[in-house]
Symmetry: C3
Subunit: 128 residues, 3 copies
């Protein structure tokens, strides 16, 4: 009944910037690390617009989920850490366009700052 | 063994303000979206006292859990995002009165601000 | 198939400061409450260095996991709430030394302040 914990690693999302995995799995649950708007080649996106950063973070999350056979539909819960609560509406618009007919549970958590002056970080729990 | 992911929706808690569900379920786990102190009729509660907002958020969380047959006892973990760490004691008092003999795991996370100037947002993981 | 939710309690980690358990379990998942750098005897560590606080928080998390038969290897996801994003590098260094060959999923969430002026709080999800 109990599966081994697995470490997920894909070259389609940025390598971890520190001592963590892109995601871990336990049975059919997937725990995705906080994703910043970096590109899969490791180049930074902290100078990109807020909207662009939201989209890149979400794409990174989904690329990691794809590595274990999932998709947008697999996402159970998104937590978005946002610098500047005034971005709420813009965040929601980009997010809605990205997820379309899929409505995961969600929390938007304003934070005072993020690593490398990124404007948003997104982590997630999914099932595959 | 694997159940479909389900989207939870109840009229006993406020409708989502953005592109998310009140909660999702996977097998017997429930992931509840961040709840603000809005009422189930959609009216806002951001002008209410901090204590009142804590109670309303918790009631929203539990109403969503009830929709899938759970109760306060079903809560595994609460994460409370609070504007103003000085509210810690007041938060804990209202929270203790609300949960009574039930002691979920918990994290209190101070944040610089919340959507619509709410003072607290609460999300949760539960099992039913 | 469905186990009862269990409340975890160990004297090897600080008692909860408020109305919560050190952790709850559901089947083989463990939800660990936000740990501050207090000692298991209840004495506070908020005057200790940032590095020292990181290590103490992580030790508290692992002591709680040990109570249900787990270890560092059991950790699926760490969320670290940090006062001052400028501590990122120092956090990562202490964290890497602590976890060694283990790479849980992780999110680092800057916060404006923490209870009792602590500099870091860490919660976790694990499987045992």
């Amino acid at each position: 009944m109990k599966d081994c914990k697995n470490i997920i690693s894909t070259t389609n999302a940025p390598k971890p910037f520190g001592h963590y995995s892109q995601a871990t799995t336990h049975n059919d649950l997937v725990f995705i690390s906080g994703q910043l708007a970096a590109n899969s080649d490791g180049s930074h996106g902290f100078e990109n617009s807020f909207s662009s950063q939201v989209k890149q973070c979400l794409e990174n999350v989904i690329e990691i989920i794809k590595e274990v056979g999932g998709s947008k539909e697999s996402v159970l819960k998104i937590t978005a850490y946002v610098v500047g609560v005034e971005h709420w509406e813009e965040f929601n618009n980009v997010y809605a366009e990205f997820f379309g007919s899929v409505y995961p549970a969600r929390a938007l958590v304003p934070v005072p700052a993020l690593h490398n002056n990124y404007l948003i970080e997104i982590d997630a729990v999914a099932s595959v």
